[in-house]
């Protein structure tokens, strides 16, 4: 597998979110961004197939996540 390198410019707020999530998930920043990319692609693929994304709370109330 060929590995390609890039520089990522983030705002302070974005970097703080990245660092917080990295700590929470015990992942490196690179691993976290790769994971985010996987999830984003997976959601896009399903939306493209005409599927919808829902969240469900403890009371089984569902809310659709509207993606723009």
């Amino acid at each position: 597998m060929t590995i390609r390198t890039m520089t990522l410019n983030l705002s302070e707020a974005e970097m703080e979110v990245l660092e917080t999530l990295s700590r929470k998930k015990t992942l490196s920043k690179t691993a976290l961004i790769k994971q985010a990319l996987r999830l984003y692609q997976a959601i896009e693929m399903r939306i493209d197939r005409g599927e919808k994304l829902f969240f469900e709370d403890d009371k089984k109330d569902k809310s659709e996540l509207v993606l723009v």
Binding site: M1, K24, K25, T26, L27, S28, A31, K34, Q35, L37, R38, L39, Q41, A42, M45
Partner: protein
């Protein structure tokens, strides 16, 4: 396209000698052809034989994966970043296939990610439950260890999870995976297993010795 590969060893089921094998990342068209033309006739034959003799219905359980459509799965997820595929080749045949999912979460460590083994199949001639003397021993172990290695590589601390087919559950218990019992959320209520980071580390130590 060139696939990344790793050299590994399997055990000859007759002589118990070590034989060189190759573990490839990615399932090629040749692997899929092997599955369709060499594996499937044996798997479906075994299932048909079992269905014809209900008294020996336990044989049906030994070919629980005969309906897995590897070709469709691989083609569907070839471009997906959430899936990784592996194939073991030896003696000019495909000996094992595996599909991993990378977006599942742990039950042992809630919120943390793990590698989920979605599909793992070994060629029918290597299955102790199907043939008297398997041609090669260790194909499943090579694939399972790769799943643990992938988990470490992705930063998931070796965590691995899976829903086991009934006949494979004991094998996963022997790998010291923790059972969460039958999963009511999963079709057929298959038993869910997970390997913790501690057990993953021990597993890698064991196979490295």
């Amino acid at each position: 396209m060139t696939r990344p590969y790793y050299n590994t060893y399997l055990t000859d089921g007759t002589t118990y000698a070590l034989i060189e094998a190759t573990l490839f990342e990615g399932i090629s068209d040749v692997n899929l052809k092997d599955h369709k033309e060499k594996w499937l006739p044996l798997l479906l034959g075994a299932r048909q034989e079992a269905n014809a003799r209900p008294a020996q219905g336990q044989h049906v359980a030994r070919v629980e994966d005969a309906h897995w459509d590897w070709s469709r799965k691989v083609k569907t997820y070839r471009v997906s970043l959430s899936h990784r595929h592996f194939a073991v080749e030896c003696a000019a045949d495909t000996q094992g296939l595996m599909q991993l999912e990378l977006t599942h979460r742990s039950r042992i460590d809630p919120g943390q990610h793990l590698i989920y083994i979605d599909l793992l199949s070994v060629a029918p001639w290597n299955r102790k439950k199907l043939v008297e003397r398997p041609r090669l021993i260790g194909v499943g172990s090579v694939l399972f260890t790769q799943a643990v290695g992938t988990s470490l590589e992705e930063g998931f601390s070796g965590r691995v999870g899976l829903h086991s087919l009934p006949t494979s559950a004991d094998w996963y218990r022997k790998q010291r995976m923790q059972s969460f019992g039958p999963d009511p959320a999963y079709p057929s209520g298959l038993e869910y297993f997970e390997m913790s980071p501690d057990e993953a580390e021990k597993h890698i130590q064991r196979v490295s010795e």
